[in-house]
Amino acid sequence: MESPLYDIELENVRFAYNGSGPVLDGISLAVRPREFLAVLGPNGGGKSTLLRVMLGILEPQAGKVSLLGRPPLESVRQVGYVPQDANTNRGFPVSVEDVVLMGRFEGGRGSWSPSAKDRAAVEGAMERMGIGHLRRSRIGELSQGQRQRVAIARALAVEPAVMLLDEPTASVDLQTQAALYDILGELNREITIVMVSHDLTALTSYATSVACVNRTLFHHDRAELTGDMVQAVYGSCPVELIAHGVPHRVLQRHDHD
């Protein structure tokens, strides 16, 4: 099969949850292979919704979505997804190893049991995230940072062609954060990464492009924020963004170039 020009393509997508106004409107976006796209935007601006639309979990009311050149639901198994909150289901009776194994699971085809290859992928993913020694632990016994590592290992176990991460560093310690960025940077040599984040450090060091979402979307092909984007997305208070400690490299230089 001819490989598609873009890994993720959205054309004029509109999405609204039942009976409310659109969360996403007129969104067009194309993500090239091996791009590292950072998705920024205010809370409630539709960042997580955008990821769910890319995955096919949510179906847009208008527009077209393609993932790896196909309708999302057909290709979603090649995607490693790290959902926003790894801490919601803490009491659940499941071991770390079994959670990571979920990344190998293939649903919708009768009964499934893991092969030797699946086991090896799980080992590799746990090794990479430094959680091998926790394999038998119950998910609820881990710290927040450890649980986040498990969620990322689960996505790595997929051996994905594309990785979508929803604020993976929101609740983790600095050490995990650094480790995560290193791993993502390394992975990015081979696979496409889309990461929703509040953390602009990631943007400076790793992202190759940036999109700002606040119902509508601004996409910039380089890893920099333009004043227009900040203004349009964050509206009247870009100060908040600056106050987070935006490294100045991120912001476009106005005069010199």
């Binding site: 995955l55 959902p83 009776p93 699971f105 649903g107 009768g110 009964s111």
Partner: protein
Amino acid sequence: MIDALQFGFMRNALLAGLLVSIACGIIGTLVVANRLVFLAGGIAHAAYGGVGLALFAGFSPFLGAMGFSLVMAVLLAALTVKSKNRADTAVGVLWAVGMALGVILVDLSPGYRADLMSLLFGSILTVSSRELWMMGGTTAVVAATVALKYRDLLVLSFDPEFAATRGVRVARLHTLLLLLVAAGTVVAIHAVGLILVIALFTIPPTLAERSCRSLAGMMAVATAWSALFTLIGLDLSYRLNLTSGATIILVAAFAFFLASVRGAKKRGGI
């Protein structure tokens, strides 16, 4: 209670208790893990509509409850698949409508009103061999379905969004889950009745959850707790001449209370 075993009805009751425990251990675990307690309560109570229908039309209340709760499960699945939480109004309405419909249909049914209290609160001591077969068959179907779809159910229960990215047909599996709840409810009706069934769905799995590292383990431990409560409850109700279903539930509730106090102490609360 050993001497009571000479009675056929007591042997039937023990066997029924075991079947109910297996059904509740499996289904209750899924209910607790998926936070479906309210939905399960709705299905169980709405089943009374099926009881009324069966009396009105003159067929077995067991089949009536089964058919009605299965239909209710499909309906509720459609209403709740998008957001489990926001549909609670609809669940509450269907819950009450099912019961009200049952009451009215019973009113309209001619003649003798079968022992309806036994369906509402259970009558494990009067379970017939035929009912045992039906309970056994239903429990076997439930257990086999869960075994076949174990991984799907595990991935869905833990994280429905991630499950969707692994190719799990979330809407379909959610419907299957509620159908299983309906089937489990109908089995459990015999022991504790459709009003009290929710306690057997929730207490044993909650006690089991704390110590288990897998969903299957939780099902097994919940089944064991459930069997213990049923046995003790049955024994007490025999000795003290109390209603069996309610006694079983109070035994379970007492254990739940003890475990909660112990849990609070462990955390240094008291």
